[in-house]
């Protein structure tokens, strides 16, 4: 029998009249990194907050390692990093982690836990910096360090990789991948889809509180697009094509490149060049968003 690190079954949640989540189900395997994509208000943060036990679902069931969420036992297994992490401002990075570590262990074990968390997030050099004065990258590192504190098996990360410079993002992505390699399951919400493409093995696209598309990243990124560069803009694109700045483009779902180009020639379009590329995650998310309208 498969033991899931995190399971959400038909979870729904409304805030007054707004339905933030509507019957979402999800099962996360140990060591898996899954990404949550979708526009603002899609329900990504609500889903993470429910999984972290901060928000109770109106209906449905949520469990971490088989334990119902919201209990201290579940909080030992799942760590959460909010989109805008706020830490006690008077404390240094080491003191912040030491404060949280007291909830997990007593005595000398606490120092080991803090040391491990500092190393894990790459914060050893900033251990004595005040939490209130940290830059965006170090703040997200601290959020990751406290979420992973105590050897937690599920990490719920809300925009932890968003808004970072490429070097910091690559570094944090690598750290997440290394954590996942040790069996830690990661559920990462990101509006920065390039970050998801870098780390996620599976992506769920949310819209209006529902999962409108889901699948392994490799399968999602299998879709190909034909880009056609034209000498001049056409009066009207052929069926299945859409206008771009340089000409036209069309998904190659179920047809060959030759057939698509033949359609262009049939419409008497002056094709200067063409190329085939893989559909980006952003396009997949936008397509899923438009199709769900």
């Amino acid at each position: 029998m498969t033991t899931y690190a995190l399971t959400l079954s038909d979870v729904s949640r409304a805030f007054s009249t707004v339905r933030a989540l509507d019957g979402v189900s999800l099962a996360l395997l140990p060591g898996e990194i899954a990404g949550l994509a979708g526009p603002a208000g899609a329900g990504k943060s609500t889903l993470l907050r429910i999984a972290a036990g901060l928000v109770a679902p109106d209906s449905g069931d949520a469990r971490v390692g088989g334990i119902p969420i919201g209990t201290p036992a579940a909080r030992r297994l799942a760590g959460y990093a909010p989109e805008t992490p706020v830490f006690p401002p008077a404390l240094t990075v080491r003191e912040v982690l030491s404060y949280y570590a007291r909830f997990h262990v007593a005595g000398a074990g606490r120092r080991t836990l803090v040391h491990h968390a500092l190393e894990l997030a790459g914060l050893a050099g900033a251990a004595h910096a005040r939490a209130a004065g940290l830059g965006r990258a170090d703040l997200q590192r601290l959020a990751l360090a406290q979420a992973a504190l105590g050897g937690r098996r599920v990490l719920l990360l809300d925009e932890t990789l968003s808004g970072l410079d490429p070097v910091a993002r690559r570094d944090l992505s690598g750290r997440l991948a290394r954590l996942a390699a040790t069996g830690v399951a990661v559920l990462l919400a990101a509006r920065d889809l390039a970050a998801l493409e870098r780390v996620a093995a599976r992506v769920l696209v949310l819209r209006g509180g529902r999962v409108v598309r889901a699948g392994p990243l490799a399968a999602l990124l299998k879709e190909r697009v034909l880009e056609v560069i034209l000498d001049g803009p056409p009066p009207e694109p052929p069926p299945g094509f859409r206008l771009t700045a340089a000409g036209l483009e069309a998904p190659l779902a179920g047809r060959t490149v030759e057939a698509a180009l033949a359609l262009c020639h049939a419409h008497r379009l002056a094709v200067r060049a063409s190329r085939v590329r893989v559909k980006s995650l952003e396009e997949i998310v936008l397509d899923a968003h438009d199709a769900a309208r």
Binding site: Y80, P88, S98, A106, Q146
Partner: protein, 225 residues
């Protein structure tokens, strides 16, 4: 055991706050001012209970009054702690430095152990009242509470209800003064010691009520975000 560890985790935040925020200087200035007043003729019991009250209000304001401190509670409760442990720890973090200030001020004006006990009872009760007020309304509530304690809390109700209109207003005023953590009540502890069971229970009641209310507010605050 785990609950106590979570309470102590909150208490551990006190030292950095005393050293790195204005809490430490404010407590020193308050203590020095009260001791100075004591040497100018203010009686030691007044010095001790005001030290306990102002120390507790300052402790609550610097403990959970700032927006960042209240926002930081969200992450704390994703760890294996509970709102009750957080509230207990924050109450301790407000009450113990205030109690320490009351004892120091008592020693500074040459007061007795009984007077110090009055200051400690005041610190416990006022911390219980200030903590939920500051959690709900922010640092501004600490200023209002401190002013109320200074102006209205020091005199017994029978001296003050006369100012209220007869009828419902008088009953309300008397009830607030009778039930609230008014300083006149803890003066009785400073004068008669632990033998004044009613006043000690009153302080303990306010401490417990404050922790329970603060715990509810912490839980509600997390859910509301």
């Amino acid at each position: 055991m785990h609950f106590l560890r979570c309470v102590l985790a909150e208490w551990a935040l006190v030292r950095p706050r005393l050293v790195r925020t204005r809490l430490g200087p404010w407590l020193v200035v308050t203590g020095a001012g009260l001791v100075w007043l004591g040497h100018r003729g203010t009686d030691p019991a007044t010095v001790a209970i005001y030290a306990g009250a102002f120390g507790a209000v300052l402790g609550a304001a610097f403990g959970v009054g700032a927006d960042a401190d209240r926002a930081a509670l969200v992450i704390a409760l994703t760890h294996p702690s509970t709102p009750l442990a957080v509230a207990c720890g924050r109450w301790l973090a407000a009450a113990l430095p205030a109690a320490g200030l009351a004892v120091a001020c008592t020693l500074g004006v040459g007061g007795t152990a009984r007077i110090a006990l009055g200051g400690i009872a005041t610190a416990a009760a006022v911390a219980g009242c200030a903590l939920p007020a500051v959690l709900a309304l922010g640092t501004g509530a600490a200023l209002v509470l401190g002013s109320c304690l200074t102006i209205a809390g020091a005199a017994p109700p029978e001296d003050l209800v006369g100012f209220a209109e007869p009828g419902l207003a008088r009953v309300a005023a008397a009830s607030v003064l009778e039930l609230g953590p008014a300083l006149w009540r803890y003066r009785a502890v400073a004068e008669r010691g632990a033998g004044n069971v009613g006043a000690i229970l009153h302080a303990a009641g306010w401490a417990a009520l404050g922790v329970v209310l603060a715990s509810g507010l912490v839980a509600r605050r997390i859910r509301a975000r």
